[in-house]
Subunit: 349 residues, 2 copies
Amino acid sequence: MARRVKTPPQPKSNLDARKATILEAVVVEHVDTAQPVGSSSVAQNADLVVSPATVRTEMVALEREGYLAQPHTSAGRVPTDKGYRYFVDHLEAGVLGPAQQRQIKEFFAHVRGEVEDVLEQTSLLLSHLTSYTSVVVGSGHSHATVLSVQLVNLDARHHLLVTVFSDGTVTKHSVLASFEADHVEVSEASRQLNALLIGTTLEAKVQVPSRGDTIAKLVREAVSLLHAEMPTMEGEQVYIGGSAKVADVFEGVETVRKVLGILEQELLVVSLVEDILDKGVTVAIGSEHGFEPLSSCAVIVAPVSLDGETIGAVGLLGPTRMKYQEVMAAAEAVSKHLTTHFGGENERA
Amino acid sequence: MARRVKTPPQPKSNLDARKATILEAVVVEHVDTAQPVGSSSVAQNADLVVSPATVRTEMVALEREGYLAQPHTSAGRVPTDKGYRYFVDHLEAGVLGPAQQRQIKEFFAHVRGEVEDVLEQTSLLLSHLTSYTSVVVGSGHSHATVLSVQLVNLDARHHLLVTVFSDGTVTKHSVLASFEADHVEVSEASRQLNALLIGTTLEAKVQVPSRGDTIAKLVREAVSLLHAEMPTMEGEQVYIGGSAKVADVFEGVETVRKVLGILEQELLVVSLVEDILDKGVTVAIGSEHGFEPLSSCAVIVAPVSLDGETIGAVGLLGPTRMKYQEVMAAAEAVSKHLTTHFGGENERA
DNA sequence: TGTTAGCACTCGATTTTACCGAGTGCTAAC
DNA sequence: GTTAGCACTCGGTAAAATCGAGTGCTAACA
């Protein structure tokens, strides 16, 4: 039962100033200590000038309204998902520490290489920066156009279809033909494929030759292979950085196992991140993403765009008890840098 | 201090039959129960017809010789690395369960797609089969020959060098030129590159044009990019399956964290596997691989070859307390299947 | 009416103690 | 060389005792 997150922020979450302060104090302390927070530490800590007793009264109210929970009688309070949600919704944009800022600048000043490499490195950066597990997603090339297609023959029946797209990605497909084709025929097929496909996107229909000769058959085979890729997630790239952090950050072997298991299924991770992005949200807390096995996790995402188009995302996965401000700032900073990195690179207008 | 593993098996490991039986019983039971093993259970269990007291005497000897250890006085015995080593050295080849055999057959009968996909799937198979973490390594294409080179231009200064090798791998390299080049020049460079490189390996030196024109510069740039790849591990492929199993199989969060951290550094994993392969060994137990952070692990490897050449390996990583027989059988079976899978595919002689 | 001090009470966490028993090493008899 | 017998060790578990952080409630207070 996923809690729906609407674009208008905090539909009815209106807490008076003091309750808000108390909630915030509880979140901050609990994130820091991982322990239930008692009334007295809140009373001292925050810039409230009230007694613990008053705080207690407020806490009872906050609990009734679902922002806090009590692990058991006579323990302190712990934020609920709803409590965290209020907290992040009312978080003013965090600033990154100077050391981290420098680290990011440094990184993007020196990083080079293929897009794939950059994304992979970025995922490591993010994970180092935040000490949570990071996910970097590069969207598939659904509206990239074909720059070049080439059919290379390995032997009489095996060929390799290599396609270059305008976004710089390269795909390969094995073509296993039921008939033999020689070098000349393959070259000709290659030429025809180029003529046919260059400039098109994979979504576009193309007119394939219906003749029955070897060349036409090769062409048809190749085109269908390429287009078969579309409906699947193929072409999506996922880079997961710091999965070892899972063991640090979650307590309980069971949780660790579950989260690691999820991370292994990269398709799942991609769709999770994209779901969250689609909702227009940057943070999904606990059950909000509607993905039960990760109900003790929070996921923070930030889109990476190019020409107004979302071409990927960076994400961070940690426990709901997470340093939201820092992590959100890091995700945002990195996604911005990535955006300009690719933007600057592709100045081919 | 890595224990050297020489080709001549068990240099001085000669235990009389009874000691061997006892050691074996201890290993088997401890692998099964994860508990120290006492003299009485050994006396009952094994087909020894001696009393616990006798077993105890033998155990004292085995401990003195370094095959067994005692967690503390008045606990049972636990095998040492040396104990496990003796055990696996004297293991007759295990047979796979019929269910597993079927699973493997099934898998290789139905698997298709690119080599990379097959290897990745295989790593999942292995991990399912054994419930340990698996590592599948594909060697780089160091002696594959170039089948095709193509330079595709993205814009005036950005080009993409796409190379197809005889082993079916495809690489891409961004070429960022300091000068502009038009479509025609790039095509010509592409043509020349083909003439120059087709049929060569990346190890071979080629005669690049020394002229100063755009085309020659492009060609030189491309060739140097390709050759720069060689010394690094690039081209190595690693597929790790079931890293979540780490959390099941090792006790202690600390160990889990450490092992996961290692697994993240894929280069490390590759070199570990290749080290073990180089030693001509199939099992590295505990400190044998000389890699301290994995001192509580055993690694089982099996090479995958093609035409007598080792083209990759499958590996399994678990605790030293591991089901060696089963796992070795699985690794061997899968590596055999992989070998014939690729062997059968590439019948282009 | 909202705030606070006071207080009895709860209940998980920690420490203490007691105890059990699996397993050992040794010795003496077979 | 093997075995039964036996005293001894020591980790693991369970029961008991204790502690104290934190609560909810009530009554007094501003």
